[in-house]
Amino acid sequence: MNILTIALRNARKKWVRTLLLLLVFTLGVVSIVALGFVSRVVGEGLEKKLVSYGANILVSPKSEKLTVSYGGFALGDMLFDVSYLDEASTVAKIDGIGLRQNISVIAPKLVVMDRVKDTAVAVVGVRFEQEKLLKGYWLVEQGEVPTRPEGLLVGSAAAAKLGLKLGDAVPLGKHSLVVAGILAPTGNEDDNVLLAHLATVQQATGRHGQANFVEVAALCSGCPIDDIVAQLATGLPGVEIKTLRNIVEQRMYSVHFVKRLILSVSLVILLTGCSMVGISMLSAVNERKKEIGILRSLGFSRQAVFSIFCAEAASIGLLAGVVGYVAGYAVSFRILAVLELAEGAVIAFEPLHLLATALVLALLTSLASLFPAWKAAAIEPSEALVTL
């Protein structure tokens, strides 16, 4: 039993009020902590993607059509007006720009639909030697990257779904392709498609010398990507040039935006909590005038009275900080699971952060109760005690 007993006993007696304040602060802490964890994981993931994204410029025919989905229903199969690039001339133009030395990979692609065992699947014609440079993360699980013209590289999900094994024959147009390799899961679109030599796909489908789009990898340390895009645009009029970096950056931006949004909401929650603490403490001071008078008549100094009120508020903050941090930690696992980001993500429980959170919260609630505590300390024992 000491001076803190007084503060804690009162908090316990007014448990509804204490619980309410605790709830508000815990909520605020949970959202801030969870936000911190989740945005760190998401941000790291995106950054990794940004780095591992081989291609950062996409060259495709300018399409004049409107959206190709309606009411959330993708009309992909109903597309008939697909435009094509001329492979040779487009590649040559890209190859000929002034900043050529900044371009590491030029990877044209032709995507066609095929039916394998009555299942629709996309066959992507690629130049494998370029594609390997572009996708350094590729891991060929079985077999190898095709060398022969009829060779086929199968994405992991596609292989599983279609039941394809090494050496299986896959018809494409008049040709018959042979599975030469199966990719380990990559986590991107490559998992769901079949990859074949571009020339083979062009021949099989009668689209000689045509490509749907060209992926370009620009070397991006001190990346003059905007200049490259500008040079490409003058060389390739009537062609759409998108930088994937922008796409990733846009995604990063939306993450930042959501982060800022949640942060401001959390701050509002904390601010609300602080004013709740302030107001409830202020009314408590009036309610507890007599108690303050007793304490003062027993020789408690103004500072002692002040610290009783601060300690009560601080204990709420401290508890909310601890509970909130732990709960926020748990909640972020759940969020990451929902966002399907959980695997591979490591969020470390840091006792030091827990301590810091608790202390900051304690400080915050004490600050909120500064004025009421000061008012309490200013109460004169006689005015509080003597009944006229």
Binding site: I3, I6, I294, R296, G299, E380, L385
Partner: protein, 231 residues
């Protein structure tokens, strides 16, 4: 101005010419108009007088809870009107004890904890010895079996006795009581008075404000106040 002659050669508490006025709605009320009073060690003084005559104000000034406008107040020779806040706090913590008509216990602390309240001023925990002493004091006021009850579970007289136990535990030298029996029925009031009556025998001075003339006569000296003056 009226002065009361000293009843003891060496008063423990001596007030001379105390004045105090309040301003209520811009109108000043002079509650004390220059009162003097001295209290000897172990003396039991009762303060009587009509309502509004200034008894409570007098008691508040004597117990340092209220600063006088003018006059001097000395405890064991130390001038309390010029004492620092720390000195006053030390006095309130140690030698002075105050009990009121409405017992004034902290509602969320048990009888025992309320008794120990003077020792809960800082971070240092209450010692086992202090706790033992508090239990003894509660026993002395007849509340040994109710030490762990909250004030809400005690009768008015019992609460008042807890307040007396609190004065006992810190070994106060002067007890100021403002109508300690005011809210009690006569039987309960009598037990409280009996307790208070024993204190001067142990060397504790008691200054008690009361409206009950019978109780007032139990004191060694009865001081009557009228309109801010001792008569």
């Amino acid at each position: 101005m009226s002065t009361t002659p000293l009843t003891s050669p060496s008063p423990i508490l001596e007030a001379v010419g105390l004045t105090k006025s309040f301003s209520q709605d811009g109108e000043p009320t002079q509650a004390l108009k220059g009162v003097s009073l001295s209290v000897a060690p172990g003396e039991f003084v009762s303060l009587v007088g009509r309502s509004g005559s200034g008894k409570s104000t007098m008691l508040s000034v004597l117990s340092t809870l209220l600063r006088p406008d003018a006059g001097t107040l000395a405890y064991k020779g130390q001038d309390l009107t010029t004492a620092t806040e720390a000195e006053v706090n030390a006095l309130r913590h140690g030698d002075f004890a105050v009990i009121f008509q409405f017992h004034y216990l902290l509602p969320y602390l048990t009888a025992l904890e309320n008794t120990l309240l003077p020792f809960m001023r800082g971070l240092r925990p209450v010692s086992a010895g202090q706790r033992q002493r508090a239990l003894e004091c509660l026993e002395r006021v007849g509340l040994a079996d109710k030490a762990h009850r909250l004030p809400g579970q005690l009768s008015g007289g019992e609460q008042q006795r807890v307040a007396i136990a609190r004065a006992l535990v810190k070994e106060a030298r002067v007890l100021f009581a403002d109508e300690p029996t005011g809210s009690l029925d006569s039987a309960t009031g009598a037990t409280v008075m009996e307790l208070l009556g024993q204190l001067p025998q142990e060397g504790m001075s008691v200054v008690m404000v009361t409206h009950n003339e019978d109780y007032a006569r139990l004191a060694g000296r009865m001081v009557r106040m009228e309109d801010g003056l001792v008569v």
